[in-house]
């Protein structure tokens, strides 16, 4: 049944075929205490030149999704199901399913850092403390382009550092990460990620560790680089403001599942899923009458080992349908028609019996 959903999802977004299609991705962690379904049936597309924002609270599986795409899920985690298809540029061969590739095989390693690059939240700890910034950029360049000599790669590294706006790049290239300021470090991180012209940049909370001014600068930088290079960006964040500013499409995640997937304007104008609505309600606003308590979502995110049955959101949902939501998992289905309809996973929009599947876990 999920396969059916997959066909529908492919219609999201606009324009040509997507760059990356993720279908029914399940990444579970097998710990002694039990199995944690960190990612549990995620579907989305990423398109060239566009930004997909993935939003959700901590622990909802955003970062694990990113790691699954890059095949760097750490033990005891494992991709148990699903597919991640990377589509080559038009007319250059068939799409490849990254899930089928060997994790540390040459093909996958060519994709890591080559086609898909990653920027982490923590620029400090994302660089080795005992190697220079340049060392790591040069290493990556030469790894993906064997024809590069050391000198050429070094020139390119300096060029990259200049491109991301690092002053005196020719000196910074020989410095250690701890010698750079937070903002510069994140710029260096971006330079490192873009060193091999990736087609997809996954930015995992790229601005969380930075102060507000620096945040804005880094986001501007990402936007500029995207416009120059036409690459796709997958922006992972829990910050709805960043989403509103950066994303073209948004996927809202809750407990390892995408609950709503829509173009950014539509999502903010008319959120469909109760969770999305609750999230948006809890943004502080200047237009609210004074002395009114900030809306919050009732309850807390359940412990990952203690997932609710049925729709994972039902215990906290104000409009849960008794008898249905606690026993059945809703699928991600389109609402309305048109070229890019929003997708929602909720029985309010798709009454039970219409494409729902029986609870299995």
């Amino acid at each position: 049944m999920t396969r059916m959903v997959a066909e529908d999802v492919a219609r999201t977004g606009s324009g040509p075929a997507p760059l990356l299609t993720v279908r029914d991705l399940c990444t579970w962690y097998f710990s002694n205490e039990g199995v944690v379904h960190a990612v549990d049936g995620v579907n989305f597309d990423v398109h060239a030149g566009r930004t997909l924002g993935i939003v959700g609270e901590s622990g909802c599986g955003k970062s694990v999704t990113a790691r699954s795409i890059l095949r760097i899920v750490e033990k005891p985690g494992r991709i148990v199901r699903g597919s991640i298809h990377l589509h080559p540029p038009a007319g250059q061969g068939e799409p490849r399913d990254l899930v089928q590739l060997r994790e540390d095989g040459p093909e996958m390693r060519a994709i890591q850092g080559g086609d898909i690059a990653l920027v982490f939240q923590e620029p400090m700890t994302s660089f080795s403390p005992v190697h220079t910034v340049g060392n790591q950029i040069i290493e990556t360049i030469r790894l993906h382009d064997r024809s590069m000599t050391k000198a050429l790669a070094r020139d390119r590294a300096i060029e990259m550092l200049q491109m991301v706006g690092i002053p005196r790049a020719e000196r910074r290239v020989d410095e250690f990460a701890y010698q750079l300021s937070g903002g510069l470090r994140q710029r260096a991180m971006i330079a490192l990620a873009l060193a091999c012209n990736p087609r997809l940049l996954i930015a995992d909370e790229p601005t969380t560790a930075l102060d507000v001014t620096t945040q804005a600068q880094i986001l501007e930088l990402l936007k500029r680089l995207q416009a120059e290079r036409g690459m796709a960006i997958m922006l992972i964040t829990h910050n709805l403001g960043v989403i509103a500013e950066m994303a073209d499409d948004v996927a809202v995640m809750y407990l390892g599942r995408v609950v709503e997937h829509a173009p950014v304007r539509e999502l903010f104008r008319s959120p469909q899923h109760p969770y999305t609505r609750a999230l948006l309600r809890s943004i502080p606003s200047l237009h609210v009458p004074p002395r009114q308590a900030l809306a919050t979502i009732e309850g807390t995110v359940p412990h990952p080992l203690n997932r609710p049955s049925g729709c994972p959101f039902h215990p906290r949902c104000e409009v849960a349908i008794a008898g249905t939501c606690e026993s059945h998992v809703p699928d991600l289905l389109p609402i309305g028609t048109g070229p890019a309809p929003a997708l929602v996973s909720c029985f309010l929009h798709h009454p039970f019996g219409d494409g729902a599947r029986q609870e299995t876990n």
């Binding site: 390693r109 890591q112 660089f127």
Partner: protein
């Protein structure tokens, strides 16, 4: 880096001074002094030393002076290479221990090298393959190495070697070389005998090294930079070797710098069991016979050589650690 080196050298000098004071204390501790022992030795051989004669002797050797004066006199002589006379052997102390001190250092260094060479790869393996069967085996052997004192392992190896292989694993030389002057053949003979004592002596340091390497590497492996390195398409094995191992090397190295004193300590007692011609057995004999100049000198020289060895290994460590190297640059 200069500041670091100077600090280290000054500390080594102070340590040497402390060692010399402790050695002097050991010489002075037993009741009576050198003259009392001398008188006892003389009367044993039949001649009597008068009280007056004894006083003159005490004056001659400065034994009537306060302790600190005696200490500095002794220190002055030691610096000139005059360690006094061994009563037990009736020869200058320097002569008695000359060769044996060298062999002690050779055995200790062999154990140190062995510790480094094995602890590093095993520690890395153990961390990278955490909770594998190999990891459990290594951890268990590590526990044994940490827990069981070297002399017991030596006893057991000696016993089993003797019983099942009819092999005497003791000694550092074969019979034909034991008294022979140094030659290539003798050196090769020594090299053949070294592994077992070195292994026994190095085992506890190795166990400690493995544990530290494993723990630190496990911490480092969870750091984001390891994941970023993998996300850049580096081969996982190369990622581990180039980044986290490099970082985990520092705590490993700084701990292992302290193993030399333990090895030298252990060599004393293991030498006794394995009858190695090091200073260990001589020290024990000297202490039992209250031959205090010999005993004190051995303690002093062992201490000094250990301090020098530790200083040297410190300097090597500095050379490989960029963070210390960059200090004050």
């Amino acid at each position: 880096m200069m500041a670091f080196l100077i600090r280290r050298i000054v500390l080594a000098l102070i340590t040497t001074l402390a060692v010399s004071m402790l050695s002097f204390l050991i010489i002075q501790l037993p009741p009576g002094d050198y003259i009392t022992s001398y008188i006892a030795a003389q009367s044993a051989s039949g001649s009597v030393v008068s009280e007056e004669e004894a006083q003159n002797l005490r004056k001659l050797y400065g034994l009537d002076q306060p302790h600190y004066v005696q200490y500095f006199r002794w220190l002055g002589q030691v610096v000139q290479g005059n360690f006094g006379q061994s009563m037990e052997w009736r020869r200058p102390v320097g002569e008695v221990i000359g060769d044996r001190l060298g062999l002690t250092m050779i055995v200790s260094l062999a154990a140190l090298v062995f510790t480094w060479l094995l602890a590093l790869p095993i520690g890395i393996y153990s961390a990278v393959r955490q909770y594998s069967i190999g990891d459990y085996i290594v951890t268990f052997i590590g526990f044994i190495g940490l827990a069981v004192p070297g002399f017991m392992i030596a006893l057991l190896i000696l016993y089993f070697g003797f019983k099942y292989f009819n092999l005497n694993v003791g000694g550092l030389f074969s019979l034909e070389y034991a008294q022979a002057p140094w030659s290539l053949g003798k050196a090769w003979d020594l090299a053949k005998h070294l592994p077992i004592p070195a292994l026994i002596l190095g085992l506890s340091g190795m166990a400690q090294g493995i544990r530290i390497m494993r723990a630190n590497l496990l911490d480092e492996l969870r750091k984001p930079y390891v994941m970023t390195a993998r996300a850049r398409g580096l081969h996982p094995a190369w990622v581990v070797l180039k980044y986290p191992v490099r970082v985990a090397l520092n705590p490993f190295a700084s701990t292992i710098g302290y193993t030399l004193p333990y090895i030298v300590s252990g060599s004393i007692i293991v030498s006794l069991v394995l009858s190695l011609p090091t200073v260990g057995p001589v020290l024990l004999k000297a202490l039992v016979a209250q031959d205090m100049f010999l005993a004190g000198t051995i303690v002093l020289l062992l201490g000094c050589l250990t301090v020098v060895g530790t200083l040297l290994s410190d300097i090597i460590l500095v050379l490989i650690d960029p963070r210390i190297r960059l200090e004050g640059k």
